[in-house]
Amino acid sequence: MTLPDYHFISAPLWLVTTLHLLTLSLHLAAMSCLFGGALIVLWAGVRKQWAGPDAAGFVRVLPAATAATVSLGVAPLLFLQLVYPRQVYAAAIVSGWFWLAVIGAVITAYYAFYRTSFQAHRTGQVSLGLLALAALGLLYTSLVYSSVFALAEQPDLLRALYAKDQSGWVWNPALGAYGLRWLHMVLGALTVGGFFVSVVGQKAPAMAATGRAALVGGMAATAAVGFLYLLSLDADLPIYMRTTAMPVLVVALALALAALHLHSRKRLALAGLCLFLSVFGMVYLRHVLRLVRLRGSFDLAAWRIAPQWSPFLLFLVCFILMLVVLVWMARLFFRPEPEVESQRKHQP
């Protein structure tokens, strides 16, 4: 009996890549609202820029943002593991303990957000200590992700590190390869978080001003660090420049600037869309850079494609249903029917 071969991708590569980039963008958008938002409210709290009911109201949104970040993070990880298992698992194994500790860090952050949220609801005040604990958990997670995913793109370094130490206590020492990348991501989160804060705090001038400042300052800093990161690519840069990355970078930057402009005109929905598309552009740029870095050790085109159309169709139907149900539930929740109040009076 010939056993089935599992070395295949069960859909055309463009489809899997699109799904990966789309879901990763959604995850990053949610994560940036959460992480950036938490850092901003922490910063504003420490400097006493805005606090009290406004900050408390914002903090109450954070558990939902955490839930969105976690649930939207599953799909991109799945698609990443589908296409790059040899790279991702290998890097994760070499840093096994740090990688596994991410779960503990996120659980701590999640509970801290809930606790802060309940406390804010009860007292109208924000516990900066709990918020700092949550932010610390997310900061750790972001560092591990940057370290591990950068290591996944350096197969020679990976082999050398493993040959020396197999315990899973290896932290990626090539800080130059991911330090700026990590900073770029954190500043990007501050930018998106700033936008999020300004939207939630539309009716609170101090909060809106803080959000706006984070949006503008964060975007400038993100662009500057992004530029430095490009320069740090050394030998990879000329190859990267010859890919589709450059035109996409220009478009992504233009979209980010458009988001700023639209935000200043209070056209928030459109500004949000431009900002999301800009994030999508950055995610695409990361994808291209990964392929550049892995050249010589990994060829995307080498995958055998053996589509499983009926399971894919099931997924597609469920995905569409998911979107419909999410929108329907959100409408139900955020726009309660007028009879709610009267009905509630008659309810036990």
Binding site: P4, D5, V88, I107, Y162, F333
Partner: protein, 503 residues
């Protein structure tokens, strides 16, 4: 073979079990708890029962805290840990079932969103809208089980997938339906147990008694469904797998027996306490039931995982990541040629990839004590005949030279003094230790391969002669290489076995 090996001191099985058992306990509650909340909310609203609605709101907070945070994140934790412990198997599963997992993710997203809105919606939404969200939550949560159950059961009973590679044939495999019913029963049972925990904190009175009885009803009904489904599940597993387990594998058999006792204790405990003292039902008893439930579920999952041995994907991939389809390649070119990440110490690399996913040297399923007093030739024989030992071990598929390298690696790390020098034993006690080391790895007393009866009437000389020709007695039997003192003690012990002596 294509991945580095995470050489951590905790056994792989233990690490996986800690995260997985906790996760399945919470995640099954996430499903059953959703059903419990929405069914009871409907009943309470119909009856205009304010007290019960307040209780349900309190339960939903506990529910959200447990399932949204710990449940969801330990689920992600399983993703993380299986990628670290069994990357090749995870890769194989993802390539075959990516659309199954992606579909499950869509239910997961709806489940999380609905749970949050349900929790925050008690005072914001109409009764109808709130109930609708509750039903959506339960539906999405149960559908995520419907999907993940297919992938989980595939690992033990891939069925015709092994011949066709067809997604659906692997998904709707022989144990799919019994497992789905079993897990649905577990969901209902856990909903009752968690509700009992929250109810235990209520003030003593009629309402508490009513709530405790009702929650206990859920626990008992769930347990009954589970018990019936467990029998169905066992029958659905191919006889070749269950028969071999009963014959050679103590772990799953012990786990199954333990799970049956725990289920009986749980059922009897819930019924007795609820009948006798529903008003005074306290948190300690509720926590005790939770612990029993977790122990029962843990025992069941442990038996399910152990039954797969020597495979991680039955008939397809061994527990150490070696692929059945690559057997000829391993035997021809060797294991080492397939190991991508090398450390420069070939013996250690071979040991890690061939043995270390189940055995540690000092900790879980430790080899140092198991091989204490053994000589190199004996260790080598064990490696080459690994598939014949009790416990359903995978065969060693590498070359003879590689088996020697592993034997060297282990011999250098074990105590090779005579048994009598390692352990302060003599006489029958020393003989029993020698038996455990030299014979018991296959012929464990009380198992199907117990040969004690065949020793009846044999003299010391006969038994000593038997040891001399051990290597020719059966496939894979190693030659006896113990020293004179050990031999004398072993012969005495074998004689005692032959005379009906109990070990």
């Amino acid at each position: 073979m294509h991945y580095p090996f995470w050489d951590q001191p905790i056994g792989y099985g233990v690490l996986m079990a800690v995260i997985a058992v906790f996760h399945v306990f919470v995640s099954h509650f996430a499903i059953g708890g959703g059903l419990y909340l929405v069914v009871n909310e409907r009943l309470a609203r119909r009856a205009g029962d304010r007290e019960r609605l307040a209780f349900l709101e309190q339960l939903s907070k506990f529910f959200a805290m447990v399932t949204l945070v710990a449940g969801a994140l330990t689920g992600v934790g399983i993703w993380f840990v299986i990628g670290l412990l069994a990357p090749a198997a995870t890769e194989a599963l993802i390539h075959n079932y990516v659309w199954g997992w992606a579909t499950e993710w869509t239910f997961f997203v709806v489940e999380i969103a609905a749970a949050m809105l349900y929790f925050y919606g008690w005072k914001r939404l109409t009764a109808k809208a709130h109930l609708t969200l509750g039903w959506i939550y339960f539906g999405a949560a149960w559908l995520s089980l419907v999907v993940i159950n297919g992938i989980l059961t595939f690992m033990l009973t891939p069925g015709r997938w092994l011949e066709t590679g067809d997604f659906w044939q692997g998904f709707f495999n022989p144990t799919y339906w019994p497992s789905l019913v079993l897990r649905t029963g577990v969901c209902v049972m856990l909903a009752g147990l968690y509700a009992l925990l929250v109810a235990s904190r209520l003030e003593a009175g009629d309402f508490k008694a009513r709530t405790v009885r009702h929650a206990a009803g859920w626990a008992v009904v769930g347990l009954a469904v589970t018990a019936l489904a467990q029998a169905w599940y066992w029958k659905a597993i191919p006889v070749a797998v269950t028969a071999r387990a009963l014959e050679t594998m103590p772990t799953p058999v012990r786990a199954i027996v333990l799970s049956l006792w725990l289920a009986a204790a749980l059922g009897a405990g819930v019924v007795a306490l609820v009948i006798l003292a529903p008003r005074r039902f306290g948190t300690t008893a509720a926590l005790g039931f939770m612990a029993l439930g977790m122990a029962w579920f843990g025992a069941f999952e442990w038996s399910r995982e152990s039954l797969r041995k020597p495979y991680i994907l039955v008939g397809y991939m061994y527990g150490n990541g070696a692929e059945v389809a690559q057997t000829a390649t391993y035997q021809r070119d060797g294991f080492l040629s397939q190991i991508t990440y090398r450390t420069g110490d070939d013996g250690a690399d071979l040991f890690r990839h061939a043995c270390r996913s189940c055995h540690t040297l000092d900790g879980y399923k430790a080899l140092k004590p198991a091989l204490a007093g053994a000589d190199r030739a004996y260790i080598l024989a064990l490696i080459q005949g690994a598939h014949l030992l009790r416990g359903n071990m995978p065969p060693f598929l590498g070359t003879a030279a590689e088996a020697e390298q592993i034997a060297d690696h282990l011999y250098q790390r074990t105590d090779h003094r005579p048994l009598a020098a390692i352990y302060p034993l003599d006489g029958l006690a020393l003989g029993r230790r020698a038996y455990d080391l030299r014979c018991g790895k296959c012929h464990a007393i009380g198992t199907a391969s117990d040969k004690a009866k065949s020793l009846a009437g044999q003299s010391a000389e006969d038994l000593s002669g038997l040891l001399d020709m051990a290597a020719s007695l059966g496939e894979g039997m190693p030659a006896y290489t113990g020293d004179a003192a050990e031999r004398k003690a072993l012969v005495a012990y074998l004689r005692s076995l032959g005379q009906g002596g109990k070990p």
